[in-house]
Amino acid sequence: MVEALKTAIAERLADLEMVIGWEMGFDALHATPLFIREEGDLHRLTLGPLAVHNLATYLPGLKGKKVGVVVKGCDSRSVIQLANEGLIKREDITVFGLCCDGVISHRKLREALPADLGFVEQATWHSDRLQAVVAGHAVEVRLQDILADKCISCRYPNALAADVLVGAARTPAPQPVPCQDAFDALPQAEKLAFWEATMARCIRCYACRNACPLCVCRDHCIATTRDPLWLGQENSPAENFMFQMIHVLHLAGRCTECGECERSCPVDIPLLLLRRSMNRVTEELFDYQAGTTPGQTPPLLTFQVEEARINERGW
């Protein structure tokens, strides 16, 4: 797959300022974004279960430039959504789409290994297995056991609206996510208690916001403006939770469930519990999944005079 991709990129590189892909990072278990500007960079390109980043996140910042981007199925939805909202110009972007077999969750990997990820001396992938040497011990982990949650429930493994599609198309087989089911089953009071306990460890680093491909306000984010003052400086469960409410509500009808927020959280807050819940609402109300249909208007930016699924709430 990677060779086919390299050929496709080489053919188009001359017309593009850069192509964004992945290369191996600082150790055997981390990939990192790669900015391909010339053919000489191409040999560094890598794909596979470590290519976790949603590279579409870079696109709004590069608006106006001709760039290429390598996307997994989920990432391709971000490209469509950004274009639907006019945050990028679709014609400026060349989308190299993958048929994706899923990526890992580093959190799950960390829990599956006998020692911290920093002690991994070697790691190799063989189809669906990772073989690693960790602090002198040889270990084997099945990809299936450390797959990111978003891949478990993935409905679009093959990139949508791609200019070039590489790999063999996969049939989606979405499964329920166990942690979401466990959360949904909690009584209301326990949900509140859960967020109170969980939000206590948020350090308000805003990594979740910065990693989100659809959070594009930069210095104007109301979480950090003083006027209007939406959010206090106090680091309490209530204020941290309020920040999440800002993120979720600003992403209502826009979130593509790429999972970058949860992946980037340094204290492992299961942020997707809230995003999935919201996406369920917008799907149920407006029969809408963000970033799946080019040209579609996000549901909260439009209306119908007679709403099919909202009753008029007479008293």
């Binding site: 967020w195 309020m242 005079v305």
Partner: protein
């Protein structure tokens, strides 16, 4: 008259200037008896209401939030309440995931002439909030408590995701 004999609860009302605020005024001018828990914030249009106003009020300790605007198809600005309807319904259905009881938030439509309907809405909503009682609050902690929270954070997460 209060909806019950217990102490007043904090109910915040966001009312549009053209219909519901007028409706509340009509009810007042007609001297309809109403519970007094509601604190009204007048906004130009229900379309002006950011769902975050409602969440902010609830997180800050409101026991209930009531939103009311012009009936759909009757908006002073023609379409403000059509947008509002989508936003408010989305929030209402989402609230469950936050652990905040969705019954603490309600939205409705009352026109300027509907004084009686306004009386009914306020009375019913106030009764409902009294039945629910004061809202449980997320903690606003002091520094010391925050440092206590930092210790478990360092020790590792304890959420269903990590079971």
């Amino acid at each position: 008259m209060s909806a019950s004999d217990s102490r007043e609860l904090r109910i915040v009302g966001f009312l549009c200037n053209w219909c519901s605020y007028g409706g509340a005024d009509t009810a007042g001018v007609a001297r309809f008896a109403q519970p007094t828990d509601l604190r009204i914030i007048r906004v130009p249009c229900s379309g002006r209401i950011d769902p975050l106003f409602i969440v902010r009020a609830l997180v800050n300790g409101a026991d209930g939030v009531l939103v009311s605007g012009c009936h759909p198809r009757d908006c002073h600005y023609a379409e403000g309440n059509f947008y509002a309807r989508r936003r408010l319904e989305t929030l209402k259905r989402f609230l469950d995931a936050t652990g905040i009881d969705p019954a603490r938030f309600e939205y409705t439509w009352v026109s300027a002439s509907e004084g009686q309907r306004w009386q009914h809405v306020v009375t019913e909503f106030t009764r409902r909030i009294h039945a629910l009682g004061p809202a449980p609050l997320l903690r606003h902690v002091s520094d010391g408590a925050w440092f206590d929270a930092a210790a478990p954070a360092a020790a590792g997460p304890a959420c269903p995701c990590h079971g």
